[in-house]
């Protein structure tokens, strides 16, 4: 029979070996490993990069309002807004992971270089752990690439190009907003129902990335319903007077004009089309129609009465009656005195989704956040059941088909919802040809 003798030195050695052995797996797998801009104190800084000057400044201002509201709610102030209706209950109103949320803002000016510069400054100088915002696909793609290189999360704002989660998708980037393909898939059946199968469409398209992908999507969706695309004319982004582009439309044999324009371009091209009396004409024995595939309530206001009766699509609208939308409209409306835009809604959701992912992951580490967001299914944020698809970081949810309201009751009551198109109808395969040519790559924690 042997005796086991225990010495003090032996116990210390054994304890150290056991401790090292137990710690070894977590050293290599811990999500709390060092990453860029890891919050050390009692606060965490988010970077809100929105157009504060330039043509989309009003949209940027509405985004900023929504961000401030989200920060209030995350920090436990105000009425909590959509945190009360969000299906995930990880957020407690005590900041994110117990740290009070603070923020810095940048001005994208709706220019890719300016947007990158302000995002870079917020990451490097202000220590922002997440960048979000923007009102243009060009800006979104540029800032998303920067965040991927730097190693922070990018929660895109208003960006509708297929490329943002298509050929330019990145592991660190996530888009809640819908895209051109979804607009086409939602709109085409409604257009077929309203205007019939035998239609000839003339497209005017903004000559940049977003315009091209939207035109491709709308043309494909309407052609699948039997429409013919008779012409597609690209217009420079700087165009202010569209008369020379609109004037030849009636003479082309087309009986529908599709305006693949956004913002000031949309307002001016629609105004020109209405001035030329296109909507009063009869061509090929049918009433001439105009379609604006991507609507924004803020922009529709700029076009005034010209939007009446014109079909388009939108990501969200304040008149939705689900609990999430009502909570958000109440919260936003009581604070600011008017209803939120779709831009405000999408950035508010993105902020909550990011914070919730951090809580569920237990870390601000971008790789932990990516893991928490990929494949995440949620509800209660105004769009019904929604999923952040893991393959491309695109949110899949219902899409709204809207039209300009004939008898608005107020200056905000510009659009009316015609149909809530279910998610299944606007969904596509991750390797769909309109979204191919890119790869997510791997998440970058930046350290």
């Amino acid at each position: 029979m042997s005796r086991i003798t225990t010495t003090r030195r032996g116990l210390l050695k054994g304890g150290a070996t056991l401790g090292a052995g137990l710690a070894l797996p977590t050293i290599f797998t811990s999500p709390a490993a060092a990453y860029l801009n890891e919050p050390k104190g009692s606060t965490v800084t988010l970077g809100f990069n929105v157009p504060q000057t330039g043509p989309y400044a009003d949209e940027g201002a509405d985004e900023l309002r929504a961000y401030l509201l989200a920060v209030e709610h995350l920090n436990g102030e105000g009425d909590g807004g959509m945190m009360n209706t969000f299906s995930s209950k990880a957020l407690k109103g005590n900041g994110i992971l117990g740290k009070k949320v603070t923020y810095v803002t940048g001005d994208t000016q709706t220019k890719s270089d300016a947007a990158r510069a302000s995002a870079k400054s917020m990451i490097e100088k202000d220590g922002a752990v997440m960048i979000t915002g923007g009102s243009s696909s060009g800006v979104a793609v540029a800032v998303q690439a920067l965040c991927q290189e730097a190693g922070v999360i990018f929660m895109a704002g208003l960006t509708h190009s297929n490329d943002t989660t298509g050929k330019d998708r990145k592991a660190n980037g996530f888009r809640h907003f819908f895209n051109g393909y979804m607009s086409g898939a939602a709109l085409a059946p409604v257009l077929e129902k309203m205007y019939g199968k035998d239609r000839r469409a003339y497209h005017l398209t903004a000559d940049y990335n977003w315009g091209w992908t939207q035109q491709e999507s709308i043309a494909a969706a309407t052609e699948a319903k039997g429409w013919e695309t008779v012409n597609n004319v690209t217009t420079p982004l700087t165009t202010t007077d569209f008369s020379s582009y609109v004037a030849p439309v009636l003479n082309s044999g087309a009986d529908v004009l599709v305006l693949n324009h956004y913002g000031g371009n949309m307002i001016n091209s629609l105004t020109s089309a209405v001035q030329f009396g296109l909507r009063d004409k009869v061509v090929n024995g049918k009433n001439f129609e105009i379609v604006v595939p991507l609507y924004s309530r803020l922009m529709a206001r700029g076009a005034g009465e010209n939007v009446k009766g014109i079909f388009g699509s939108t990501n969200w609208h304040w008149s939705l009656t689900d609990a999430g939308s009502k909570a958000f409209v109440k919260s936003f409306g009581e604070k600011y005195g008017f209803p939120p835009s779709q831009a405000a809604h999408t950035v508010y959701c993105q902020t909550l989704l990011y914070a919730d992912a951090c809580e569920r992951a237990g870390t601000f580490n971008p790789c932990g956040v990516v893991e928490a967001l990929e494949g995440f299914k949620f509800d209660g944020l105004g769009n019904g059941a929604t999923e952040y698809r893991a393959e491309d970081h695109q949110c899949f949810k219902d899409v709204l088909v809207v039209k300009g309201k004939e008898n608005p009751t107020s200056e905000f009551d510009v659009l009316e919802i015609v149909e809530v198109t279910p998610r299944e109808q606007v969904e596509y395969a991750p390797d769909h040809e309109m979204f191919s040519g890119g790869a997510l790559g791997t998440c970058n924690p930046g350290a």
């Binding site: 000057t53 330039g54 043509p55 989309y56 400044a57 009003d58 012409n231 004319v233 690209t234 420079p236 700087t238 202010t240 007077d241 008369s243 020379s244 582009y245 004037a247 030849p248 009636l250 003479n251 000031g264 307002i267 001016n268 105004t271 020109s272 001035q275 030329f276 009396g277 009063d280 004409k281 061509v283 803020l298 922009m299 206001r301 700029g302 076009a303 005034g304 009465e305 010209n306 304040w318 008149s319 409209v329 109440k330 409306g333 009581e334 008017f338 209803p339 009751t409 107020s410 905000f412 009551d413």
Partner: protein, 343 residues
């Protein structure tokens, strides 16, 4: 043939705006020798005179309608414009509907005053400074003015429609024997063209047939000699600055139904208008008008799909290509005089 006629018509109304702005620029350059980069901002301020008048006509009192609710579910606050309260619903709506043409009456004194204050308060201090200094200060002023407008009115375009009676379009094709819908032209654009021709005619008549205009023309030709005759030419030139501002302002007022105005619209026209002035010939009033219409028509042709298919991107550079070609063959522009900016 109908497509060509259509683009000529389109070009004429684009050219009308270029010609009016370039006319004002040339008036200022010809009289005061100042290269005024704030002229686009004056066009924009003119447009916002129409926006402001529309807003004034739409000032309202609030009446609660308990039968309807707002977006928060509260009783709906209905805005009733004072003009409808004071003059009755129909008359009030008619006043609001005609706010753009009525804005002409407001814009003339406002723009003359702005021009006068601008010249006396800032520009006159730069007469003897190099053109580069003049460009910098007037460009800076333009930025200040547009930021002020943005601060008050926001960045988004503001719809400022034409009176209902001028909505819709005129089938010009049917009138001259073409098919229906082959050449259509909006009524308001037709009015804009006629209005521009009228303003240009009035400015020329003023300079040609009034004693004041004669003195101004004499001063443009030889300022020193006119001064030696005991005429206070500076005062007349200051007034000409005000008139040039009013011409730009009127162009802006009438342009609002064509494109909803925003704070940046002046900059959109400024560079093109300078090209128009240079092509027309620095200091030449007829040259500015001729070049305005010429470049407007050429720009319209360049945006035809047939032309763009042949020469992609030509619609964005046509004006500059023509400017280069004209300046290479006629360095003083189409109607420029010898000695202007050649020292």
């Amino acid at each position: 043939m109908d497509a060509i006629l259509l683009q000529i018509l389109n070009g004429l109304d684009k050219g009308s705006a270029y010609a009016l702005i370039a006319l004002g620029l040339t008036l200022i350059f010809g009289t005061l020798g100042v290269v005024n980069f704030a002229h686009g901002a004056l066009f924009m301020i003119g447009a916002f005179c129409a926006v402001t008048l529309q807003k004034v006509f739409n000032l309202y009192s609030v009446v609660i309608d308990p039968t309807k609710t707002d977006f928060l579910g509260n009783p709906l606050k209905v805005k009733v414009p004072y003009v409808e309260t004071w003059f009755g619903e129909m008359a009030g709506q008619a006043i609001i509907n005609w706010s753009v043409p009525l804005a002409i009456l407001v814009a003339i004194p406002v723009m003359v005053t702005i021009g006068y204050v601008m010249e006396r308060g800032l520009i006159k201090h730069f007469y003897k400074r190099p053109h580069a200094d003049q460009i910098l200060v007037t460009f800076g002023l333009a930025i200040v003015l547009q930021e002020i407008i943005k601060a008050f009115y926001g960045a988004n375009p503001i719809p400022t429609p034409a009176p209902d009676v001028f909505k819709g379009s005129f089938d010009f094709g049917v009138l001259i024997g073409f098919d229906e819908n082959s050449i259509i032209y909006p009524y308001w654009r037709l009015i804009y063209f006629v209005f521009s021709a009228l303003v240009i005619g009035l400015v020329f008549a003023f300079l040609q047939f009034t004693t004041f205009g004669m003195v101004v023309r004499a001063g443009m030709a030889d300022r020193e000699t006119v001064g030696l005759l005991g005429i206070n030419i500076d005062r007349r030139f200051t007034l000409m600055f005000g008139i040039a501002a009013a011409v730009a302002g009127l162009a802006g007022v009438m342009y609002t139904p064509i494109n909803p105005p925003n704070y940046h619209m002046g900059m959109d026209f400024l560079v093109l208008s300078f090209v128009v002035v240079v092509v027309g010939g620095m200091g030449s009033l007829p040259g500015a008008v001729l070049a305005g219409f010429l470049l407007g028509v050429l720009e319209s042709f360049a945006s035809m799909n047939e032309v763009k298919t042949l020469l992609p991107g030509i619609d964005q550079i046509i004006i500059y290509l023509v400017a280069i070609a004209i300046l290479l063959t006629r360095p003083r522009g189409l109607m420029g005089r010898a000695g202007v900016m050649e020292d």
